[in-house]
Amino acid sequence: MLLTVLSILTDGLAYAAYLFIIAIGLTLIFGVMKILNVAHGSFYAFGAYGAATAVGIYFNGHDWNAAGGFLFMILLAMAIGLVMGLILERGLLRLVYGKDEVVIVLVTYAVFLILEDMVVLIWGAQSYAAYQPMVAAGSIDLGDLVLSNYDILLVVLAAFLAALAYWSLKFTRYGRLLTTVIFDREVAAAFGINVTVVYTVTFLVGAMLGALSGAVMAPKISVTLGIGVEVIVLAFAVVAIGGMGSIEGALVGALIVGICRAAAVHLVPQIELFVIYGVMAIVLIVRPYGLFVRAQPRRI
């Protein structure tokens, strides 16, 4: 009994860490730019494929340090995210700022469709494995409970990202500028903040976080076609539960979904998928804008 509870908690925490790493980029972009970025799933997929390629190069026939491989994989994925974000924001999204939020969702959906086929063009239709960093990390046995070190690493990474986001939003100059833009874009612009630059930087950071989430997940999954399709709705659920645009909301949303899913997997495996969206629906019924966002006044 205790073992079940403990494994629900540890599994849930590991899954929540993974969800948070995915959701933070999505919620950041939404909070600042009011763009619900469906293409975030593509960033994830490109990050995962990039990481698989990096792992393939690094571990193939060499006997190098596994930690270096992990670092190389993350850096390559983030570089991919940076380039993609730059092309997307400067080349396309710039043209549609100011349109309806829903229309912008459709624009990013179109980008998502295009990038899905780009994955096939670049990496082909076969799937890749990138398990080496995870195997190299090993595991800890605590009695009957086996914890993968890689999962612990993910939890640490998620906590680090959360702390970093909190610190940079509250205590850095750029973070304060960002808060101003979130609060009121036009007033911020009137006070001389270069909103265009803030938008670009935010989107790049969001894109890099998306690619990073794909990269750190690559060793745990089989990198194959369609991973972005699944992940984007999961990230939506997390972000909607916490409140779109709220970092602490994404953290709480990830924890709720992570623990609920782990509980379902251990107790009633039939409702594993159902439970995630069920929780989302219930939260949205009680708090339409999510847990951490205050209701917006309606325009007259």
Partner: protein, 315 residues
């Protein structure tokens, strides 16, 4: 204007019905599925007029399809007319219940909540082993009031039946657009609070739209299940909803006919693209969507109106 549109629409439907026996079998099947999907798109257009986009219309599509398939599986009943009506009614009931909840939401929140609801159904179906899990199961061959066609005759009958349901739905939705509740859509989109000050309950207007879209989605799903002969959980997946939204945006909310023409074009391009360049299919879709949003934001249907306006100007 309305009468002329009805006349043209009626002639188009008659033409579509008359030409069918002279077309190859696969074209007829393709058109059947296209027209079935067009009903779902029509529902999306009803919502889109009020500024709402549902990323979960596949919920009703899937309910309609599974109701048809399950009745066949459990009772062995196969009359297409009753089955399709039941599919539409069940989806309508579900949308009526969901409407109480979802009518409070707007914009992205409306889209996200409907997405979540359709994913719940997907999650349930995928994990239900007795219903074939991810494989789904096949649908009984339908009969029509005791008439049991086979092969090509079945294809044709189903096509005509679909066409008839489409014609009735198009008439109904057209009448709805001209009614006061339908005309309020643009007002709701522009400024809800002013509409409320006029003494109209916006929530009720939107609730009605959700139910109309739900019934149309159920009818479309039921017809599609009969036409494809198989149902599976992917019918509720968010990418299915996405393709319906895609056709709706491409067609535009300007007219009822746009849904049917758009859906037909979509299916035609899809089967062509999957045949010739399968690896570029989604890329073609995405690019078409981008070009539409950037350059023809009112949808391709609006091009017709633009031409007409240009012609009217010199006089």
């Amino acid at each position: 204007m309305a009468r002329r549109a009805q006349l043209i629409g009626g002639l188009a439907f008659i033409a579509a019905a008359v030409i069918a026996p002279f077309l190859p079998d696969w074209v007829v099947s393709l058109a059947t599925i296209a027209f079935a999907n067009a009903l779902v798109v029509l529902g999306l257009i009803v919502l889109w007029r009020a500024g709402l986009v549902s990323f979960g219309q596949a919920l009703y599509y899937c309910i309609g399809a599974y109701v048809v398939a399950l009745i066949g599986r459990w009772i062995g009943f196969g009359d297409a007319i009753v089955l399709v009506l039941l599919g539409g009614i069940s989806a309508g009931l579900v949308s009526f219940l969901i409407g109480f909840l979802i009518a409070r939401y707007r914009e992205i929140f409306f889209a996200m909540l409907s997405l979540a609801l359709s994913m719940i159904l997907y999650g349930v179906l995928v994990k239900t082993e007795s219903l074939g899990s991810t494989d789904g199961f096949s649908v009984l061959t339908p009969t029509f009031l005791g008439y049991t066609p086979h092969g090509e005759a079945l294809n044709l009958t189903l096509y005509w039946f679909t066409l008839a349901i489409c014609a009735l739905s198009a008439l109904g939705v057209g009448a709805y657009f001209r009614s006061i509740a339908g005309a309020l859509a643009a007002a709701v989109r522009d400024n809800e609070i002013r509409v409320e000050f006029l003494g109209v309950s916006v929530a009720r207007v939107i609730h009605a739209k959700v139910v109309i879209a739900g019934v149309l989605g159920g009818l479309g799903g039921a017809l599609a299940a009969l036409a494809i002969g198989h149902v599976d959980p992917n019918m509720a997946y968010w990418t299915t909803s996405g393709s319906f939204v895609f056709v709706a945006i491409l067609a535009g909310a300007g007219s009822v006919a746009a849904a049917f023409v758009g859906s037909l074009l979509f299916e035609a391009i899809r089967s062509l693209a999957v045949d010739v360049v399968p690896e570029f299919w989604q890329m073609i879709l995405g690019s078409a969507l981008l070009v539409t949003i950037l350059f023809v934001p009112e949808g391709l249907g609006s091009l017709v109106f633009r031409l007409r306006r240009k012609k009217a100007k010199p006089s």
